[in-house]
């Protein structure tokens, strides 16, 4: 790949240079199939066992789904058992919303998080949350935007539930004590997201996820009916005698390695995504715990999954310095007017196209020799923050303090110079198939948030993830609290694990690899 070095490109850069007009748009499907990482040769394989046998799946994920469990029946002898009405696995925004909703309806809730409560992708979200509240906007438009950006692969019933919940989700968050940016007249401030027809992103400067997560975390900790177990990873689900119903989970302490069984009527998976699998060798914007655990557990117990060959590479991950490689630069900047420039100082794509298209366009520029190369490796294009600052002085400091705080550590001032960006693995578009209550195809098992699929189709628009985790978190929590009136499980078994092992053996596949992974391998060389 050719193209100038970072130093040469910086020397040639002027924040007041004249910009040539945008080139004619290229057919999005051609752009995607030529340059989007989902279409890389060898990226996709076919699943051989389990409920999705025969469907296409990303290779690294397929390797994880078709594995043996970490534990066996012998490991469970003498393990202490705890009973609860609802078990929530995952301590991000979706897990907290589900726990609060279940507790509000009188259920006893146990929330297990493999890290500290709130230590999640939610806390890192920057841009904001979508809900159609502006005059001229509507739930109908929000729904159309969501389905269209997802290439019409989303489930209309789920999308209708998502967008219909929007305004009430914002009210619920405010009631929990979450702040949002306001206009001088007191309205919620809104911005446009890529691929949308109206401004409907609400935000708390560029710390929306942090504000949401610290409020929900506090609300969960303070709630009398919710017990929180931190540093407790789910290593396997539990099933009834027939292996057909989920009746609990086995948790492993991350501090001392001990196991505990939780017996329950409903399990809500809220384990997030899998960026830390570094699909196709990409860096990721994701949190360390994003290792796809929930998909593995759900698949082994028989839940159907969807869109396993579709992932979101966020267009603007940082390239330089290596310390911050893959970290996100919020789409809010493009929403506020920042443009993307190649090494020749030209715009090459409408910056507010959906994320998959903008990412593919950036990859095209770099592959065709119009990328910028830092000495430390990698390649990228400019996100012209300096031009944005020039046109709206003070904007970066007022609305994007997180960007400034982060780049300060790296010795870069985005008000003075553009920042180098390249797509970063950001989001799992699909996941566990759910209904409008977040219920999976396995009785007793719910999935909410990034681990669930069917809403975003094959590409998610900005702000719909934060909306989904709260909207569907509340739906699943309420539904699980309701089903907690059923009679509890008689027997807890690992029958589904035995069934999955038989399937692997019949297919002639290896039983050596075990999953879930819990943490990326590079974090624990000393263990």
């Amino acid at each position: 790949m050719n193209g100038p070095t970072l130093q040469a490109a910086l020397a040639a850069y002027r924040s007041d240079s004249e910009l040539p007009p945008l080139p004619d748009p290229i057919d999005p499907d051609r752009l995607l199939s030529a340059f989007h990482p989902d279409h890389l040769r060898g990226s996709i394989t076919t699943l051989k066992v389990g409920p999705n046998t025969g469907t296409q799946c990303q290779r690294e994920l397929a390797d994880l789904l078709q594995t043996e469990a970490i534990i066996d029946e012998v490991d469970l002898a003498g393990v202490p058992v705890t009973d609860t009405d609802v078990l929530v696995i995952g301590g991000g925004g979706a897990g907290c919303a589900a726990a609060l909703a279940a507790a509000e309806r009188g259920a006893r809730v146990l929330l297990a998080s493999k890290l500290r409560l709130g230590n999640s992708n939610t806390v890192m979200a920057e841009g904001g949350i979508q809900a159609a509240i502006e005059p001229g906007d509507s739930a109908q438009k929000h729904m159309q935007d969501t389905l269209r950006a997802g290439h019409h692969a989303g489930d209309p019933a789920l999308v209708a539930a998502l967008v219909g919940d929007g305004p009430d989700v914002i009210r619920w968050l405010i009631r929990q004590g979450m702040q949002f940016d306001q206009t001088p007249s007191g309205d919620l401030h809104t911005r446009r997201a890529g691929g949308t027809s109206a401004p409907r992103i609400m935000h708390c400067r560029d710390y929306t996820g942090l504000e949401m997560m610290r409020v929900l975390r506090e609300a969960v900790i303070q709630h009398r009916s919710i017990e929180v177990w931190e540093q407790s990873a789910a290593v396997e689900l539990l099933s009834n005698e027939s292996g057909q119903k989920c009746v609990g989970a086995v948790l492993k302490s991350q501090t001392d390695g001990s196991l505990r069984i939780v017996r329950t009527r409903s399990v809500i998976l809220a384990t997030g995504g899998l960026g830390r699998l570094h699909l196709n060798g990409f860096p990721t914007s994701n949190h360390l715990g994003s290792t796809g655990d929930g998909l593995v557990l759900a698949y082994r117990i028989g839940a159907r999954l969807c869109e396993l060959d579709s992932f979101q590479y966020h267009p603007t991950g940082l390239v330089n310095p290596p310390l911050l490689s893959g970290k996100l630069v919020t789409e809010g900047l493009r929403g506020a007017g920042a443009v993307l420039l190649n090494a020749k100082g030209e715009r090459f794509i409408d910056e507010l196209q959906p994320r998959d298209i903008v990412s593919a366009a950036i990859i095209r520029e770099c592959q065709e020799g119009r990328g910028i190369h830092p000495e430390s490796g990698g390649v990228g294009v400019w996100l012209d923050t300096a031009r944005l600052e020039r046109s709206q002085p003070g904007l970066l400091e007022q609305q994007f303090p997180k960007l400034l705080a982060r780049t300060r550590i790296a010795g870069i001032d985005p008000r003075q110079q553009p920042i180098l960006v390249y797509p970063t693995l950001h989001y799992q578009n699909g996941g566990v198939v759910i209904d409008v209550n977040g219920a999976s195809s396995v009785p007793g098992l719910y999935a909410v948030g990034e681990v669930a699929g069917g809403i975003h189709g094959r590409n998610r628009i900005m702000g719909n993830a934060l909306l989904e985790i709260i909207g569907f978190g509340r739906r699943a929590g309420a539904s699980a609290a309701h089903s907690s009136h059923d009679r509890g499980p008689k027997k807890i078994t690992l029958e589904h694990v035995n069934r999955a092992r038989r399937a692997l053996t019949l297919a002639g596949m290896s039983l050596e690899k075990r999953a879930p992974q819990i943490m990326p391998a590079y974090t624990a060389p000393g263990k």
Partner: protein, 212 residues
Amino acid sequence: MSETSDGATVELTINGTAVCAEPHMTVVEAAWAGGVPRVTGVGCLEGVCGSCRILIKRGSDVGVALACETIVDQGIEVLFLPPPSTALHQYELAEFDDGWDSQARFHEIFPEASRCRHCHGCVRSCPRGIAVEEGVALATAGRFREAGEAFFECVMCELCDSACPEQIAPAHVGLFSRRITAHFHLRPPNLIHRLEELRQHPFSGPGEKESS
């Protein structure tokens, strides 16, 4: 994870283990590269989850920081701190009657807040550079909006809570201030208008497609 660069390495200790790191590594990367076991309090790697709390000794200086944004330095000693203990102050916003009693409730919930002895321990321990002490004083005076604003960049690492000899729990004071402000005072007309429209005409789902 790390670039391979020739030249000098940096020697430090992490949790008592001697570690050799490359100069541009963070303490987290150095811990991984050096095989330091049981470093469990790490998550976002960008300074917002507040989990990777460390005690750090440089010469005779001892301080606290977040490991993911601390670059290694020759001879430093680092100790990963255990997660903060459970919050001491219990309250549920749903149990508050209205905004008029929030100052009284604040002093019931956080009786220690008015006993600040201005030792600056909280300010010195904050990795975000927040004016913690001032924020607590504002909350004590019932100025919750301003107090909450002071804590805007708080990542709830709770290092200030650990530093406070009066057990004021400043991070939670800040969060209380922010929550009470939103809960009682954030009433955005555009949102309220849309909620009212939806109450009268609920969204019926997919329905007919608008032309696009």
